[in-house]
Symmetry: C2
Subunit: 751 residues, 2 copies
């Protein structure tokens, strides 16, 4: 079986060592690599029933860790040490080479040094082994040319040999669901199983991630470190996790988004299937980008675009390791709020205060209780407690614990879950660190909360006051009753805000960019276009453009001006002149015929002084001052076409206040972009101007985006600056298009 698959791969195009990678071979190599990392292949890659450990002796720290990790994960299958000279390792007999195994193992963990790795892979293939983890570093991670070449060679070898390879420079993975953890650092037991799949572009974070998850009742399905992603990439694992039945939530630590278009497709698919992706993406700042680049050799890309793409396709971006796991934990709990109105139940007025502030931050609304709720609460609470939201049942629940009042907190919870005006309950849970002398009281309380949770018409999100580890006793209590609790008000409310935004994004059902490569229209120029040509392009997409006439002499300019309401503007029109004002190529507010004539001559002469290729002079009516927008589409090297919308003036120049989206966008999406602007109030008429017709603005901006998309791979920039907005009048005053040269390849490939 491996033999035949291997031949099929080789048939697709030989790529022996030293063969210069011409484009055809490179594309085929990429495709062949992808075939090694399909969800089907990864399903078996991550669930081996037998493992060989190549090149590890008893004295190797890595080897010790791998053996210990496999034991912690509950792995009971054969573990075969391979060592050229030592007869035993880890209390097991060795074989000198993988070729000497009596039957193939499902996975080889290669501890051999860099220079020996390819030889080991050959041995593996010869032994019928199709999966390997490579620990050795000094490949692409080193940053040098030699390392990059070694990595390229490794990839070609893996493809030739039909070996699915994780790494190099990789610690391995921990599959809790399948009880197997070929992982090269220590993992502290117990390993908690659960529905969170985790992908780390930094394996050294594994122990921190596992420890924090364990301390907060977050169970994992698969955790994998990625190493250099020579064969299996982050996107491959994400695709696997989306189809993996053991995984309900996906958590990522990302240094870079390597195959951005594919990542976006996967994000959209995960969103559609209701599997949240929670991502800690570093490189938000220049220092962060520099550091990530130093560690990975991969550029992080424009963070604003990454951020926009994530928000657009529901990838929840978090800022810390704690938040990564706490937000993921909320999703795994089964108690995910579906709306923004909360009922809060605590035994602490101080906690209520903090929650009130943090709820506002997250757009969570603490609404008034219904009268029916208040009545029930008043009947149960002591007279000095106020029966309002957020609810403080007061310290009496603690002081009178075990007495007749014991159920007070639970009575309150019972009353609040039935409130008709709330979408979820935020319920503070104080759990003992150790088993109390009489555990029956807390057991009863947990059972009561579990019963209420079962019958509650709305989710109950439990939380502790601070981010503190759950003790083993507290975890056993929660597990027994099927309850989850969020680690502290601070991270907990952030998680709730993120879950709410995720659901709102999901409801929008965002369309990912098409994966089909659109051909560029034929006959396009390359480089900057003249304003007249640029205007024609957007006008053809339905974008309203200020009237203009292109004239070739002063008389024609006067005649054109006469057809417009004076004053008029005159602008030199040439593809060779993009900064018209700078060279004196613009005359504004021109009134009389003589002035128009003079302006024409001046503008034209200024143009002639710097360029031969003058199309003429554009004459347009001047417009009164109004709100101005900037609308631009550029092409991000990773993510492709990106639409930017912002208010003009200080908003874009000083505050860099823009909203970004990947294309395609529709008018509804643009409407949301406008709402995200810090200066959004200006569009609503905050400065005494006419409130903008936002639907009309959105429609026009979507037409601009469509015009840009229509240029296909030729698009470099399409910019409308300004787009003038005055009530329902929306009009482009200046348009600039810049295109790339495009080779028209009849086969459609290679672009």
């Amino acid at each position: 079986m491996p033999q035949s698959t291997r031949s099929a791969t080789l048939d697709a195009g030989p790529a022996g060592p030293g063969a210069g990678p011409d484009p055809t071979t490179a594309a085929e190599l990429a495709a062949a690599r992808r075939r090694l990392a399909t969800p089907e292949r990864l399903r078996s890659f991550f669930a081996p029933r037998s493992v060989a450990l190549v090149g590890a002796s008893d004295s190797s720290g890595w080897g010790q860790f791998i053996v210990a990790s496999l034991a912690t994960s509950g792995f009971t299958g054969p573990l075969r040490p391979v060592h050229p000279t030592r007869p035993t390792a880890f209390d097991r007999p060795t074989v000198p080479s993988l070729r000497d195994l009596d039957e193939p193992v499902d996975l080889a963990y290669v501890l051999a040094p860099t220079r020996a790795v390819e030889g080991v892979l050959e041995d593996a293939a010869a032994a019928g082994i199709r999966n390997a983890i490579v620990l050795a570093s000094g490949y692409g991670d080193g940053g040098g040319e030699q390392g990059r070449e070694a990595e390229a060679s490794l990839v070609r070898r893996a493809v030739e040999l039909d070996i699915t390879l994780l790494g190099p420079n990789c610690l391995g993975y921990v599959n809790a669901a399948a009880s197997v953890a070929p992982f090269g650092l220590g993992i502290v037991p117990p390993l908690r199983r659960g529905p969170l799949g985790i992908v780390l572009q930094s394996g050294a974070l594994t122990s921190n991630v596992l420890a924090f998850a364990r301390a907060h009742q977050v169970g994992i399905s698969l955790l994998t470190s990625m190493g250099n992603e020579a064969v299996i990439t982050t996107a491959d694992v994400v695709e696997h996790l989306i189809s993996d039945d053991d995984t309900e939530v996906i958590g990522l630590f990302l240094e870079s988004v390597r195959d951005a278009p594919r990542f976006v497709q996967l994000a959209a698919r995960a969103l559609e299937r209701g599997k949240p992706i929670v991502a800690l993406k570093v490189g938000r700042t220049e220092a962060g980008q520099r550091t990530a680049l130093a560690h990975t050799g991969a550029l992080a890309g424009d963070d604003a675009v990454v951020d926009a793409a994530f928000r657009q396709f529901g990838v929840i971006r978090v800022g810390s390791l704690e938040q990564l796991l706490i937000t993921s934990g909320l999703f795994t709990s089964g108690q995910v709020p579906k709306g923004r109105r909360v009922g809060v139940v605590t035994a602490s007025g101080g906690a209520c205060d903090i929650i009130a502030d943090r709820s506002t931050d997250e757009g969570v609304r603490i609404v008034d209780f219904a009268e029916s709720t208040t009545a029930k609460l008043k009947a149960a609470l002591p007279p000095f407690a106020a029966a309002h939201n957020p609810l403080d049942v007061t310290g009496i629940v603690l002081a009178e614990r075990g007495s007749a009042q014991a159920g007070l907190g639970d009575v309150a919870l019972e009353a609040v879950v039935d409130d008709p005006g709330i979408d979820f309950v935020f319920n503070m849970l104080a759990l003992p660190a150790a088993e109390p002398p009489d555990p029956s009281i807390i057991e009863r309380r947990m059972a009561q909360i579990a019963t209420t949770t079962q019958r509650s018409p709305v989710p109950i999100v439990n939380f502790s006051a601070t981010c503190s580890d759950l003790s083993p006793f507290a975890q056993s209590l929660l597990d027994k009753h099927g309850l989850h609790t969020l680690a502290g008000i601070e991270f907990g409310l952030t998680a709730i805000g993120q879950a709410l935004r995720w659901q709102e994004t999901r409801a929008l059902d965002p369309r990912p960019p098409s994966t089909e490569q659109v051909a560029a229209p034929a006959g396009l120029p390359s480089g900057p276009w003249s304003e007249a040509r640029s205007r024609d392009l957007v006008a053809a997409s339905g974008v309203p453009v200020v009237p203009a006439e292109l004239v070739a002499d002063a008389d024609a300019a006067v005649a054109a001006a006469a057809r417009f309401a004076r004053p008029v503007a005159l602008k030199i029109c040439s593809a060779a002149i993009t900064h018209k004002s700078d060279i004196g190529g613009v005359a504004l507010g021109v009134q009389g015929d003589d002035d128009v004539r003079a302006a024409y001559e001046r503008v034209h002469a200024a143009g002639r002084a710097v360029a031969d290729d003058i199309e003429g002079v554009l004459v347009s009516p001047m417009r009164a001052p109004a709100t101005e927008l900037f609308v631009g589409v550029t092409v991000d090297p990773s993510f492709g076409p990106v639409l930017a919308v912002g208010l003009g003036g200080v908003f874009i120049e000083v505050l860099e206040d823009v909203s970004l989206r990947l294309l395609p966008v529709d008018a509804a999406e643009v409407r949301r972009m406008l709402g995200e602007l810090r200066g959004a109030a200006v569009l609503r008429g905050a400065r005494g101007t006419r409130p903008a017709d936002l639907d009309r603005v959105a429609e026009v901006v979507a037409q601009v985006a469509a015009a840009a998309a229509g240029l296909g791979p030729a698009l470099q920039t399409l910019e409308i600056n300004p787009l003038r907005v005055d009530g329902d009048s929306v009009e482009a005053l200046d348009v600039l298009v810049v295109t790339n040269p495009v080779t028209h390849d009849p086969a459609g490939a290679g672009s």
Copy 2:
């Protein structure tokens, strides 16, 4: 002794029940109350050697908690239960009343119901007891008139009886330094002693605070819950802690800042003495203010002013309970960074990435290592590790633990602390949860870090990757070697940023507002002033004001206009007209004599139509467009005069981008205010305007502030809008002053 003090208090003015509080008595009552809560009184209040428990039986949950808390704190003094009917309580014989004690105790904890409390206080006084904690609620906390009256009566009784009283509606305190904890909820042992004093305006947070502090190696001196602050106030306790030798750092949970001027004085004193105050002040949002009000009955005040006052006087404002304790913990550690350049040492590239982003957020700079450092690192590190900042010594330190490579992390730390270009080291510390099989390795490592810390020329701030509890083993390790570690990168870097800002604020040595009540100048009007009079006021303080002539007829207007560069502006001048434009009282850009004449008549007529009291018409030269600032001084009901500075236009109208300070401010402080504005780049010439002479702007704004301060208690508003800024030309274009009526009281009291 109590008798004589009591008499002295009574001599100061009788305030028997039912006596209507006329102002003199109220002021004297306040002063008498303050005398009960001096640092001297509080020193003994918080360190009783004997405690009576009044009204607690064995079945009372509160009583059980108090007895248990005293035991947890290590209290070994006499504990005397007092109960009218039961012969014993908590295995001790009771007495029926405090009067029956054979000798006075230092503190009575009063568990009696509200109606019985005053009687118990009388018993206490009769028994020579001068300190009491009152648990009962239903006073001012209830929100009703009856409760407020009961609280006023309680205060008068405490003053009469010379009893220092904490509460009512108060759980008590935990004095770890003095081993005494009369506290009405459970505290989980062990109680960790240390230099952090904590004041909580919500007692129910105590257990959360103590648990989190304990889990993160943060020891406390005194923690007190405040209750209703009827006698002892938060400010009193802060004053006590500032002078308390056991306390080096002060942590606060604040629902409201009750006596804001005194709080500011204390903040300035704490800053000057180098005792950081870290505060979680709730009520940032409308929902938070509503919630805090519901719990305390005290209004939270304008949060923007609270925030400005805190920043101005070095009170570190945090957003979460975790941050309150982690930031406090950094200050207690003795390893506080003094500058912003960091050297980072980790064994995780992923941690480096996160640190790089978060450092940027906090203004911490990851600088390049010196060549000498790089050389030392290269010699020690494996070839695949890069010797740059942030430093990842790679997972090899873990894999080779215990081998020859064991000291790698420490060698790296040794090299980095000596780097001449850094101000502190951020050192990642992975601590085992439980004692490892061979503890000598980690012991050696800790000893090495301790040695390096001792000899290091810069502070070493250790941190863990996530906010996770320190296990008892980890704590014992750290304690043994005198080391501290911050809980996670997220909170840890926030703490570092806060510590750095605190030190920078301290270096500025901010002057608090004067506590002396300045008298208002005689002869001021009350209400809005005319523009002419307003201009004169600020001009007298040195503020440059656009030239203007106040004219009373059209001829004079023409003559005035002739003396200025045309065009000119004409504005109606009347104290009765504050919105001149709205009533047609302004003419702008007037050129010729006839136009001036017509404008005068129009503006004057518009004024006459709405007001009788017209001073005339102001004629001024028009100024060319330039950068415009808003400068205003208003009076906050809690904090007093507040200066607001912002850029005009969208910055103030749409973005509400203002910087606030309490008065007094000098020009240097105003310079910092300008730097805080989001639109600061506009002043630096971002929009093609002349860069502003910021020193000149600051000087003028400080003069405006001085003019406002000179009005003393008469000040209501002083507003310059706009202050025109064009390079080094700074000029007020419009000025408005509004004053309060002031009763001139020769004694200076009652204002």
